[in-house]
């Protein structure tokens, strides 16, 4: 992939602050689209846009900040970060604050936050650090321990219950194991075990509302005014958008509030209704740019820790995109996953941008060293 003019022009400056120009440009493009869509779906409320702008500002700041840290630092803090994360999750389990029917929050007096968000970064860092102690392909023993390390926080998060996040967190760990050369035989075995685990999840771990989501996913028409309503309305919004869409601010499904969660989880439906298939292809291309750039950065990274971490961060980002789009278009059950960089909301945005900060650190520091 060639560097764009933008990066070459500003090369010295961007490189000095450890920023990957191509990645930054793609992120900014998506953020802009996000703001446009939030403005439309939020009933043309400038306040909403301003608050999102502030969050994006905070996110970008964090990204730039994290991009400055040497890889060694990440490598060193991984294990502690992971342990602190686990402790916090335990804390949530015992002292957590209940919100929206789930116990996800930890109240530290001054601020409340979700430790599961920390885990989204701590998990790939920990597994990448653990695997990269030895050469890859990782040994069966390492893979096994790796799975245990993945499993502990996953269970803790799933217990809150927060199925969406627990899946994303476990995915970020498993991606590391996959990239580290886990044998296909083991992958097949895991797949098989997963198949067996599903019924156990259904009967022992999943709450009623989660089961309902799965049922609704399998047959949304079974409850058109209840939990099936979201997915039916979402499909109507997307389908009625057609090839060229109804136009910005013209989406009737969203403007007339037939769509639920319009500026958060279901923002993609709003976008699809207003910008149509053409808009969707544009959006997917931008996401693909980010993902491919991420894999490229991973592949060119200097050491295994960097490679594994960068690859995992990128693939997890893809999972976000895929799960969200799949869920609003009826391919996947409804799990509360926002569309990264587009959906309105703060917590996941910060984690996401932190991930991109690490990705940029890996990207630019590799180049500095290789020079």
């Amino acid at each position: 992939m060639k560097k764009t003019n933008f990066t070459t022009n500003k090369q010295s400056f961007l490189e000095r602050i450890h920023i990957d120009g191509f990645l930054l440009l793609s992120l900014l493009c998506l953020m802009f689209i996000g703001l446009l869509t939030i403005y439309s779906s939020g009933g043309q409320d400038w306040d909403l846009v301003q608050r999102q702008l502030l969050r994006l500002g905070v996110g970008i700041t964090i990204m730039i900040g994290l991009a400055q840290l040497p890889i060694l630092v990440y490598q060193r803090v991984s294990i502690y970060f992971y342990i602190v994360g686990i402790l916090m999750l335990l804390g949530v389990l015992f002292f957590g604050v209940v919100g929206k029917g789930a116990q996800r929050w930890l109240d530290l007096g001054v601020l409340r936050f979700q430790p599961s968000e920390i885990m989204k970064l701590a998990m790939p860092m920990m597994i990448a650090w653990f695997i990269s102690r030895n050469s890859i392909p990782a040994s069966v023993r390492d893979i096994f321990v790796g799975f245990v390390l993945v499993f502990i926080p996953t269970i803790l998060i799933a217990k809150q219950p927060d199925l969406g996040t627990s899946l994303l967190v476990s995915a970020s760990g498993i991606f590391v194991l996959f990239l580290s050369g886990m044998r296909w035989r083991i992958i097949s075995l895991i797949g098989l075990l997963g198949g067996l685990f599903a019924p156990i999840m259904w009967f022992f771990l999943m709450k009623d509302y989660q089961k309902q989501r799965v049922i609704t996913f399998l047959d949304p028409e079974s409850d058109p005014l209840g939990s099936g309503y979201h997915i039916i309305q979402s499909k109507i919004a997307i389908g009625s958008g057609g090839v060229d869409g109804k136009g910005w601010l013209q989406g009737t499904q969203s403007q007339l509030e037939f769509l639920p969660e319009r500026h958060t989880d279901f923002i993609f439906s709003v976008y699809s209704e207003e910008f149509g298939l053409i808009g969707i292809i544009g959006l997917l291309v931008m996401y693909m740019c980010i993902i491919m750039r991420g894999l490229y950065i991973a592949n060119r990274a200097q050491n295994n820790f960097s490679k594994l971490l960068a690859g995992s961060i990128t693939l997890t980002f893809f999972v976000y995109v895929f799960v969200n789009m799949g869920m609003v278009s009826g391919l996947l059950p409804v799990v509360g996953v926002p569309l990264p960089l587009i959906s309105y909301g703060g917590t996941s945005m910060v984690t996401l941008m932190a991930g991109f900060g690490i990705l940029m650190a890996i990207s630019t520091q590799k180049r500095l060293l290789s020079r």
Binding site: S135, L179, S180, G239, S240, L295, G326
Partner: protein, 649 residues
């Protein structure tokens, strides 16, 4: 450190491994993204139309818009039924911050009762929060003014106006006009049967009685539609399309409100009815049933107590006596019977009887008395009508027999609906052998026929039947259907409906009409006529017939009440008449319950009304018309503003 060395050793193999996995990941990502895109393509391209339809179905709602009900005018353009805005105070719960406090403030201002609050709370639960709920209906003007002045204190509360029926003449026209009231379940079922359900989708009231009910289809109009865009809660965002409703037709009745008011005034304090018709068309000029009530009570829902009061009143105000009151027609049918006798050849103008005050059949012990104990002496057919000799008719009926009487009286409309445009009409009873067999399972006796000869016995009739039968006589067999509807008011001018006529009653000898009508003239104008006293020195020449019916009561399931036995056993006073004699214009039928003799009670009342018509109303109308015509001539070419009343065409 061994591990570190190993790492360096295998660096390129490791890099290759990672590259392969990264490449595989990229394929994986592409694959899933393609899946996503294929699915989205399916939704947006293949199923686009289906989802577009659903999307429109979501947002577009079609709302019916009620048409304005047609107005009702009298023949001179006086409005009899109008649509007036009524004001109600409505609260939009969503827009009120503190409902309890607001209601308390409102109570302070308008004295809202706990009942009203209870009803409001009940209605509120059935509505969406942004839909208005009334707290007080039918605000007075003072209340409207009071609230308007304080509106700023009550955000979310508003005065709403709706058109509602109003009858300015209140109890004057009740039985004829009827009234509208809220559509109930029964009405709804009926509308469904008629396929009119959609047409009434937005309509609040429907005609329940009288003209309002009979001419409902013309008065109602056609529903309009508003295509609106709504949001997920059904709130209207904007109007996309509007198909205006077609208002109901404004109808003009044959009624002359002045005449109707005069009839009401004369009937004050009495029970009975007055019907005045236009002899030449059958048009009903006045139709008053007494006692009456205010139909406006029913428009907004009458209270249970008030309704019970009307329903249980021993004077039965809800009954339309003119069309449902069943009275023995008594002597009023003597002219008809005389005509039948002449036609059948049973009597001639030469026929004379010696009336000794009673009629007796051979071998029958029973005697039928004349109303005049000593009898009328020598009586021919003319005198028999003029003095209302019963004996003559006992004998005539005996000779005609019930079968002939039944058949030929049926031709005068007895025992059947007249076709008046009201649903509240009774067929009454014109007895026959078959009828008696079916009703009492008894044979017909000769004695039964004798009573029928003087309009008593099993025979009863409604005043409208009697009025109709008089018109057939006066018109020499032409049978106009009595009608209330005169025409429609279209763009300021009246378009008359065709005059309804049944095939005429043809008789063998046209002179027989003259004989009977002459006798009616004699009743009023000749020395021994029963209506002579009542009509002495009128400015016009009229003819008529008195009747005095011995009574039970009107056919209502009234309870036998000892206190009232006296009053209710008194005779019914009746009169039919028309004028002017040589060029008949109006005819009248008067029935007054338990008043006494027809010549002393009904005839004077009829005279008062006729005097009013010929001495006051008609000259005034003619003068007004003349002035208007004169004015028209003067200001020809200059647009003149019409007076408040429309001139009759």
């Amino acid at each position: 450190m061994a591990k570190a060395r190993q790492t360096i050793r295998d660096h390129s193999a490791e890099a290759n491994l990672f590259a392969r996995r990264a490449f595989f990941s990229a394929i994986f990502v592409f694959g899933l993204m393609s899946l996503l895109l294929i699915n989205l393509y399916d939704l947006q391209v293949n199923k686009h139309l289906e989802y577009q339809t659903q999307s429109n179905g979501n947002r577009i709602k079609v709302l019916p818009v009620a048409p304005n009900r047609g107005l009702i005018y009298d023949r001179n353009g006086v409005i009899l039924a109008e649509n007036k805005p009524v004001f109600s105070l409505e609260i939009i719960p969503e827009e009120v911050d503190n409902l309890e406090q607001t209601l308390a403030q409102l109570t302070e201002l308008m004295a809202i009762t706990p009942d009203e609050i209870a009803r409001f709370e009940k209605d509120k639960l059935r509505q969406r929060r942004f839909k208005p709920v009334s707290i007080r209906r039918q605000l007075t003007h003072e209340e409207v003014a009071l609230f308007s002045a304080n509106q700023h204190r009550f955000p979310g509360i508003d005065i709403k106006a709706r058109l509602s029926r109003y009858y300015p003449f209140k109890d004057t026209l009740t039985h004829m006009l009827g009234y509208v009231s809220r559509i109930n379940k029964r009405d709804l079922a009926k509308l469904k049967d008629q396929g009119q359900e959609a047409n009434y989708a937005a309509t609040h009231d429907i005609g329940k009685q009288g003209v309002e009910k009979f001419h409902e289809s013309k008065l109602h109009g056609r529903v309009g539609y508003q295509q609106v865009e709504v949001n997920n809660k059904g709130r209207i965002i904007r109007v996309l399309d509007f198909e205006p409703p077609v208002p109901g037709k404004d109808i003009v009745l044959n009624i002359d409100i002045k005449l109707q008011q005069k009839a009401q005034q004369e009937m004050a304090g009495r029970r009975g009815s007055v019907i005045i018709t236009d002899v030449k068309t059958g048009g009903v000029l006045a139709l008053y049933s007494s006692p009456s009530y205010d139909p406006n009570l029913f428009v907004h829902g009458i209270s249970q107590t008030e309704y019970s009061k009307l329903l249980n009143s021993r004077y039965s105000p809800l009954l339309n006596r003119a069309t449902q009151g069943l009275y023995p027609p008594a002597s009023l049918i003597k002219p008809h019977l005389a005509l039948i006798g002449l036609e059948e050849g049973v009597i001639t103008t030469e026929t004379e009887i010696q009336d000794r005050g009673f009629f007796k059949l051979r071998n029958v012990a029973h005697i039928w008395r004349d109303w005049k104990r000593q009898g009328h002496g020598t009586v021919d057919v003319t005198k028999a009508i003029e003095v209302s000799c019963d004996t003559f008719y006992y004998e005539l009926a005996y000779k005609l027999g019930i079968d002939t009487i039944h058949e030929r009286m049926g031709e005068f409309g007895f025992g059947n609906f007249t076709g008046l445009d009201l649903y509240e009409e009774s067929r009454a009873i014109l007895p026959s052998r078959g009828w008696k067999r079916a009703t009492f399972n008894e044979s017909w006796y000769i004695g039964d026929t004798i009573s029928v000869g003087i309009g008593q016995g099993y025979w009863n009739a409604t005043p409208i039947q009697i009025a109709n039968s008089l018109n057939i006589l006066v018109n020499r067999g032409k049978r106009f259907t009595p009608t209330l509807l005169k025409g429609y008011l279209i763009d300021g001018s009246v378009e008359n409906v065709a005059i309804e006529q049944k095939p005429p009653l043809v008789i063998n000898n046209e002179e027989n009409w003259d004989i009977v009508l002459d006798a009616l003239y004699g009743t009023v104008n000749r020395e021994n006529g029963t209506a002579r006293t009542a009509f002495r020195k009128t400015s016009y020449v009229s003819a008529g017939k008195t009747g005095t019916a011995q009574l039970f009561t009107v056919a209502q399931d009234e309870e036998y009440d000892e206190e009232n036995v006296h009053e209710y056993l008194r005779d019914n006073a009746m009169y039919i008449g028309y004028a002017p004699f040589d060029n008949p214009q109006i005819s009248m039928a008067v029935a007054i319950e338990n008043a006494g003799g027809g010549s002393s009670h009904a005839a004077p009342l009829a005279r008062n009304v006729m005097d009013y018509y010929f001495d006051e109303l008609r000259p005034a109308r003619e003068m007004a018309l003349a002035q208007k015509n004169a004015a028209k001539i003067k200001v020809i070419g200059i647009s003149s503003t019409p007076s408040s009343h429309q001139s009759s065409p």
